[in-house]
Amino acid sequence: MSEQAIEVKNLTFEYPDTEEPVLKNINFTIDYGEILGIIGPTGAGKSTLAMCVNGLVPQVIQGEIEGEIYVKGMNVHESDVAAMSEHVGFVFQEPENQLSQMTIEEEIAFGMGNLGVPRDEMLVRIKDALSQVGLEGFEERSPLALSGGQQQRLAIAAVLAMRPTIMIMDEPTSMLDPKGKNEVYDVLKNLKAYGMTGIIIDHEVERIAAYCDKVLVLDEGEVKMFGTTEEVFTEIDRLHELTLHAPQVTEFLSQYNRTFHKNAALATTIEKAVRSYESANK
């Protein structure tokens, strides 16, 4: 069996101040180049799960952990977060809290400096990272002078410059306006084209359906559903039971089938849905 990018086995985690584990017996794998979307209601343990993957939990955020996590074949618990950061990049929810330097180029150089990347290499990588997120020409500006969307793209660039193979994003767009969200997701699309492996936590199922290969539904610390985007989002009743919903086009087709007793195939993207609708109407 070939080595997986991320492999989580029987993961159970409990915070010191809670009665019940926040994560219960979680199992999933992601192959290289795949993007996993994690959805679930607030408090389901999505962020905790993401932080387990790069070792923030339990090394920085303490708690009781059971089970094993392998990232690129390495056991996360035997490594530390700083060492893992060469392989796993993490983008947090709030853009502003992730910025600590005076100028944009220094912000990007910060992570690399900690990894001991030589200065010549840094300059090349800064240029690369800025062009990947579309912030060229901003090098000398203060990060605080940027808009929310730009700040989040900068945070992504800072992670990208460290050249991780795996990228985890914890609700990267929830603090942003629609324009900022589009900016961030455009960057994501780029990353996918580069063949990066990723985990994205987001509430917007439309985006998840459009960008992710696999979806994991988490509820009260348990994996309720896990599979390809199609598999998960076409089980609409199950999603509704978990107080979640499928992308609107899928919901539309489902409702259409039910109301007019049709049999249109459920689709998760607009293009496929249009075709499915058309063929059901014939």
Binding site: M51, N54, L56, V60, I61, D80, V81, A82, A83, S85, E86, G89, F90, F92, E94, E96, N97, Q98, L99, S100, Q101, M102, T103, E105, E106, A109, F110, G111, M112, G113, N114, L115, G116, V117, P118, R119, M122, L123, I126, S142, L144, A158, V159, M162
Partner: protein, 297 residues
Amino acid sequence: MNSLYLPKDSLIHSLDPRTKMIFVAFVVASSFIMNDPALQLLLLVSLFPLVVIAKLVKPYLISIQFLLLFAVLIMTVHGIYNPIGVTPVFEIFGGLTFKYESMVYASVMSFRILVIGTGAVLFVMTTHPSDMASALVKWKVPHSFAFILLSTFQIIPIIAREAKIVMEAQQARCLDVKGNIIQRVKNLVPMFAPLFIITFMKVHQLSYVLECRAFSRKGNKTSLRETNIGSLDYSFLLGMLAVLVFEIYLKLFMMGSFQWTTDALLTYSLIGTWVVCGFMLVKFLVKRFQGKFGGVN
């Protein structure tokens, strides 16, 4: 930019931050070695060409105004009331006498403030904070300490903005910010409690981010900003050393042989600071006046 750094193209700007830190230490040391008003005035005047070289005359004069306020207060109050004074120099308003010894004491103290202030302003305005941090790291200062220094510049504007948000939110909940002084002091609690919590949460989050950016990784760290000690730095350092040696020589062997600190010098410097301060006051009043009646014309 949140710091006081003013980017200019000058010799002083291109010096290594370490040289400039040594320079500040040198200025502080000199101001204590030259324990005499006349010599300190000389030091102050001789620092001024450096300000000119750094192309910072205007911002320097603006920032030194505030230190001058201290100088005026110290010189006036100490000159009259300091009990070490015995020899009267001159009298104002009939009963208030300035005495020689207390004037010397006050002048030394206030010139020292001005001299150290000048050195500090030169350093702060010509050194990029990131350069300072990376220079400190080269001096084997722990990386985390340099980071704390640097992130302070970054977090102050963020906290200021959060403070504004908290204040507006509390005002929207009927917090009276225009009441009497006791009421306002009481209101500090609902203002600062949320602000502290927000700040702690932000810092907490930042610590996770730093961990994810390999901050605690052991081994060599590199920096984007390069600081190098060049020939200019060496000549500057040598110059400082020469001046320092001369100062010590002066202090040890020549102190008794000249008497520049005369009544006239003390009086003129006191009156000088009064005049400058008076000028500042007039300027301030004119501005207030214009602000009040500017709309009419």
